[in-house]
């Protein structure tokens, strides 16, 4: 689902001034301090950057795979380059931004571990959101039907999906531990796209949002 932000969660739409934001993006926006510098990787049509620019006086930059997305962003007055997380992050200097955001994209990168390293090199903090492959519907599809899951948040057949590196919430915790990354905050969304304090997030969380710090 790289650069296909609009296709992920169809949760509650929040209206803020004249900008409508998907719930997970609104949750990410809430984490970000006003007046900070942000790099949004896989920024889609620029909804989050636009919101942050207008409502939190954030200085924002974006990277987006699709020409259409970049055109929409540029038309909104945002500074966005056409590129992708695997190949273009290397050109950004250390500490370029306060927050590097990778929303619903890490599972589509070739080297998620390397991308994560890059996020925390460029940003003081990183915000990563991804669909949870440990969600019960995914497990049920595999274990009961014996088929690769096609759900609302994972809407592709196995042979055409851009998602090549799926992980569960617990996998992501393990990777962060392995990489000595400090987890400052976690948020989980249920299958309706609502943020919930889930007891078993790895089973009932459909999406996760992690705020990461350098160790």
């Amino acid at each position: 689902m790289a650069a296909a932000i609009g296709k992920v969660a169809k949760g509650k739409i929040m209206k803020h001034r004249d900008i409508t934001l998907r719930t997970d993006l609104k949750l990410i926006a809430d984490i970000i301090e006003p007046d900070s510098r942000v790099l949004d990787i896989g920024c889609g049509d620029g909804a989050l950057l636009d919101h942050l620019t207008h409502n939190k006086s954030v200085s924002g930059r974006g990277i987006e795979l699709s020409q259409k997305g970049v055109n929409q962003c540029v038309g909104r007055g945002l500074s966005v380059i056409q590129g992708n997380a695997d190949t273009d992050l290397q050109y950004y200097p250390n500490d370029a931004v306060d927050y590097a955001i990778l929303s619903q994209t890490i599972q589509a990168t070739h080297s998620p571990r390397h991308v994560l390293e890059e996020l925390l090199r460029i940003g003081h903090r990183a915000i990563v959101s991804f669909p949870n492959f440990g969600h019960w519907r995914v497990r049920a599809s595999l274990s009961l039907a014996g088929r690769m899951p096609v759900t609302k948040s994972l809407a592709f057949q196995w042979y055409e999906t851009p998602n090549i590196h799926f992980c569960t919430i617990n996998d992501f915790f393990a990777l962060c531990e392995d990489m000595n990354i400090k987890i400052a905050k976690t948020l989980f969304l249920d299958q309706k796209g609502q943020q919930k304090n889930l007891i078993f997030p790895n089973l009932t969380g459909q999406q996760a949002i992690f705020l990461l710090d350098r160790d």
Binding site: R61, Q67, K68, V70, N71, Q72, C73, V74, G75, R76, G77, L78, S79, V80, I81, Q82, G83, D88, Y91, Y92, P93, A96
Partner: protein, 397 residues
């Protein structure tokens, strides 16, 4: 300083009067080569009106064989302006809102000082006594023009190909004078391949006996064959293989069978010959040598110990870089180099690779997504630029 509404230019063996404005700077201008040239003349056209606080000016930089006639019928070829689809009322570069300036480059042959101009020392055309100029020198002359119009800061500088090089030069040399820059289908330096193609063109001109070692004007001759071959070679580099195939394939020109000779059997041959033939009627051979040389010498990183990013360090300019997927003369990779250098110094940059099979010349066409990008970027910039000013609309008011 003078400012007329018509100017006389020398095209090959004839003198032609064309419409347009001209400004003369008596004070000599220093060149990158270390010598000075003067007085210099700059011919230009403007579209739209300058607003009260002179904040709505856009400079358009033309390419190798372009000129100041951006958006009107060309006085010599009678064809529409080379960027008429991009520039005009309601177009992405909207002349209802902006004051558009386009000057012909120095070294050229459309009214600005160049090898056809009289050398003040001899009264005869400069010919090869004209000093070798650079992209930096072209922009230096444009800066004089802009200042002579009382404009302190340009809202935007835009151009493709060699025009894109000038846009980059503007942003690097005079960042305080540029709010937004749109370099299109360009490169931070001329590559060995770029130089090689230009050298073929120059050698074709110089091999023509009518070139007379550059003194053809005095000899009343025109190196038509040489200049024409130079144009034909260059023209191939402006197109892509798919574009050539789509236009011509292996189709024959006005005949059913091959002639087993060296006539223009193929449509593509006929087309190229026509391109060469018409080009010599509007362009000067020595200008072609000088301008291609200026492009060859272009290397933005050179002054910064080879570090392109350093050329852009602390730049306040907002950039929008645009490339075309089938352009192999100034490919996306060359444009991306600019973007990566800007990223490395955290400059404000947007970048789009427009999907097109038209090759380098796509920047002259209305490819899907291209004009939308320019339009969106300019509108986004206008919001920021005019919001801090008294004239909020940035229009003619």
């Amino acid at each position: 300083m003078t400012d007329d509404n018509s100017l006389e230019i020398q095209i090959q063996d004839k003198s032609v009067t064309i419409p347009g404005k001209k400004v003369v700077f008596d004070e000599p201008m220093p060149l990158d080569s270390g010598i000075e040239i003067g007085p210099i003349e700059v011919s230009y056209q403007t579209y739209g009106s300058l607003n009260a606080d002179k904040s709505n000016a856009i400079v358009i930089c033309h390419a190798l064989t372009g000129d100041q006639f951006v958006s009107e019928t060309h006085p010599i070829t009678q064809k529409p302006g080379w960027w008429a689809m991009m520039v005009g009322p309601g177009k992405p570069v909207d002349t209802d809102k902006y004051f558009v300036i386009c000057s012909s480059v120095i070294g050229g042959c459309m009214g600005s000082t160049g090898p056809v101009s009289p050398d003040p020392k001899t009264g005869k055309p400069y010919g090869l006594n004209f000093p070798v100029i650079t992209i930096g020198d072209m922009v230096r002359a444009q800066k004089r023009l802009v200042e002579s119009l009382g404009i302190k800061k340009l809202f935007c500088v835009i151009g493709g190909s060699m025009g894109g090089m000038q846009v980059l030069q503007w942003a690097v040399s005079y960042p305080e004078m540029v709010f937004a820059a749109i370099p299109i289908a360009t490169a931070p330096r001329h590559t060995a391949q770029n130089i090689a193609f230009h050298e073929v063109g120059r050698q074709a001109i110089m091999a023509d006996p009518n070139w007379c070692h550059g003194a053809y004007l005095e000899e009343n001759k025109v190196p038509r064959a040489g200049l024409s071959v130079a144009r034909m070679t260059a023209h191939v580099t402006y197109l892509s293989e798919p574009a050539l195939h789509r236009k011509f394939g292996r189709r024959l020109q006005d005949r059913k069978n091959l002639t087993y000779g060296f006539d223009a059997d193929f449509q593509v041959e006929s087309y190229l010959r026509h391109q060469g033939f018409t080009f010599v009627e509007r362009f000067d051979a020595n200008s072609y040598l000088y301008i291609t040389r200026a492009m060859d010498y272009f290397d933005l990183a050179e002054e910064h110990n080879g570090m392109l990013a350093d050329a852009f360090r602390d730049s306040p300019v907002r950039f929008c870089v645009i490339s075309f997927s089938s352009d192999w003369l100034f490919p996306t990779s060359a444009n991306r180099e600019i973007v990566h250098a800007l990223n490395a110094v955290a400059a404000d940059v947007s970048f789009v690779e427009v999907q097109s099979d038209a090759g380098h010349d796509a920047f002259l066409l209305k490819e899907p997504g291209f004009h939308e990008t320019v339009d969106g970027f300019i509108k986004g910039c206008a919001e920021r630029w005019f919001n801090g000013r008294s004239d909020r609309k940035g229009g003619q008011g």
